[in-house]
């Protein structure tokens, strides 16, 4: 499995997003910035939908490296309580069923679903009822 970039997720199963925790302030961000101000900080896998939209046109290339074929996708901000609010694709949900506050969990999806050895990107999917 190929991830779109090194250092985005932890090397465990299932993986977690690898954020950064500021050494002085404790502020948590994603991804972990380069340099010496942040320690790597794995983020929790579960959160809830903070906001979202639907990308309804193919982004320009460069920088986008997804397939030429385009289907609208949902992009969300997902609150990971006590940590940070992460931007991520939404997966495995109909576009008209997305609701602010819905529980979500981390997954990985292919940037190009038709590729034989696809590049994977982070996404969140519905996690059923709140725990």
């Amino acid at each position: 499995m190929r991830i779109i970039s090194e250092g985005l997720i932890t090397d465990e199963t299932p993986p977690r997003l690898l954020g950064g925790r500021h050494k002085d302030s404790g502020r948590i961000v994603f991804p972990c910035p380069a340099g010496e101000d942040f320690d790597a900080y794995p983020l929790q896998r579960h959160g809830h939908l903070w906001s979202y939209t639907v990308q309804r046109y193919r982004p320009k290339s460069p920088p986008y490296t997804g397939p030429e074929a385009f289907e609208p996708w949902a992009v969300a901000y997902v609150e990971l309580p006590g940590e940070t609010i992460v931007e991520a694709r939404l997966a495995n949900i109909a576009l008209d069923e997305i609701r602010i506050g819905m529980p979500l969990r981390l997954t990985l999806i292919p940037l190009d679903p038709s590729a034989s050895d696809p590049i994977m990107i982070h996404a969140f999917e519905p996690a059923g009822e709140p725990a």
């Binding site: 309804r56 982004p59 320009k60 920088p63 992009v75 901000y77 006590g82």
Partner: protein, 381 residues
């Protein structure tokens, strides 16, 4: 007290002008402004010029005259025009100069702005995966705002409807045909909840403003349009900005809020004292949120304001009287200066069919842009 005054204004119509470079559109605006002020190019002691995608503004001297004058280029995202104006004002305030130029122009390709991650200190994967898109941010921001403050989709539509209706009377606007509310609401979605009529488009155009010390303005015999405040600020902690792979759970203010508060402090007046306002409306929801961020209403009151027509030309606080970015499009370097141009037109009562009634004396302008910058001006006649 010695104020900096705006003594000349010029504009090249916004939209698409085939065969004319962005810089040439800027030159057109400068010549109009010189004529308006009644001065010659050789009288201009210095300039600040802004362009995001249409070349080096100081190249203009080749077309306008090689007088050897000081000309500094400004590039500050959507706040480029505001930053040029701020800098021009400061140079006159310092006592160093009496007469200067703030100019902005641009010419963008069709389609959405194409930003690259490296320009914003972001990792390459962020662009490769399809996140480097301004419309995503604007749509996600208004979705959250509507959820928190109970704003209805129809209010977004009313903002666009007003913009196109006002632009009918603005010769410099791009889209000057009224669009009915139901057409706006039922048009194809670009980024939910925004339809295609609720986003502005990258465009072309040029604006020039000539600023003078109060002493010089009196010599020129112009009506005194005083620049009571010009502020430019970057973001505070906890703001929600374009191109953010993560945002803080603890929500904070915005660059707009601090630029606005500073401007009111400098001018010694409050939001209730403003007669006409141009607020950054790169999309319909931006105008809604910026009404509150600039202190003109509380969060959540916008539904009622729009339903009652309080931001119409004849309303309590006319907003975006020339149709704003929604109707004029956004040539980044010129856009913030267009707002000030429109405010000068209104304060001189030259607005024709879009003139704010009741002899307006104060006018407010506000821009916002990536990666979290804002510029505000307050004019007084």
């Amino acid at each position: 007290m010695n104020d900096v005054c705006i003594v000349g204004i010029g504009i090249h119509p916004f939209g698409r002008t085939e065969g004319l470079s962005g810089l040439e559109q800027g030159v057109h605006a400068v010549r109009q402004a010189l004529n308006d002020a009644g001065v010659e190019w050789r009288d201009i002691q210095f300039a600040y010029g802004g362009s995001d995608a249409a070349g080096n503004p100081d190249s203009m001297v080749e077309r306008l005259g090689l007088t050897g004058m000081q000309f500094i280029n400004v590039r500050n995202g959507c706040a480029t025009g505001g930053s040029a104006l701020f800098s021009t004002q400061m140079a006159i305030k310092s006592g160093e100069f009496d007469l200067g130029l703030a100019v902005g122009f641009d010419k963008h390709p069709r389609g959405a702005f194409n930003a690259l991650p490296s320009e914003y200190n972001l990792p390459e994967w962020y662009g490769e995966a399809g996140y480097m898109i301004t419309t995503q941010f604007f749509a996600a921001k208004i979705t959250r705002y509507m959820h928190e403050h109970g704003i209805s989709p129809a209010t977004l539509g009313r903002v666009s409807e007003k913009a196109f209706r006002n632009a009918v009377h603005a010769p410099h606007a791009w889209r000057r045909e009224p669009v009915p509310l139901d057409v706006i609401m039922e048009a194809p979605l670009v980024s939910d909840p925004y339809t295609k009529y609720m986003f502005c488009s990258p465009a072309e155009g040029g604006v020039a403003l000539i600023l003078a010390s109060e002493k010089k303005a009196r010599e020129l015999g112009k009506p005194l349009i005083r620049l009571k405040a010009a502020t430019m600020r970057t973001r505070p902690p906890g703001s929600f900005e374009v191109f953010a792979p993560s945002i803080d759970i603890e929500r904070g203010g915005s660059a707009t809020m601090i630029a606005s508060a500073d401007a009111f402090h400098l001018a010694g007046i409050g939001p209730d004292d403003i007669d006409v306002a141009q607020l950054q409306d790169t999309e319909a929801g931006a105008e809604i949120m910026h009404m509150a961020e600039n202190g003109f209403c509380r969060d959540g009151e916008q539904d009622q304001w729009l339903a009652e027509g309080r931001t119409e030309i004849g309303g309590h606080l006319p907003v975006n009287t020339d149709g704003g970015c929604l109707a004029c499009g956004e040539p980044i370097g010129a856009s913030g200066l267009r707002q000030v141009y429109e405010n000068v037109v209104q304060l001189r009562q030259d607005g024709g069919g879009r003139q704010v009634p009741g002899n307006p004396r104060t006018a407010y302008s506000h821009v916002y842009g990536a990666p979290g910058v804002s510029a505000v001006t307050i004019l007084e006649r």
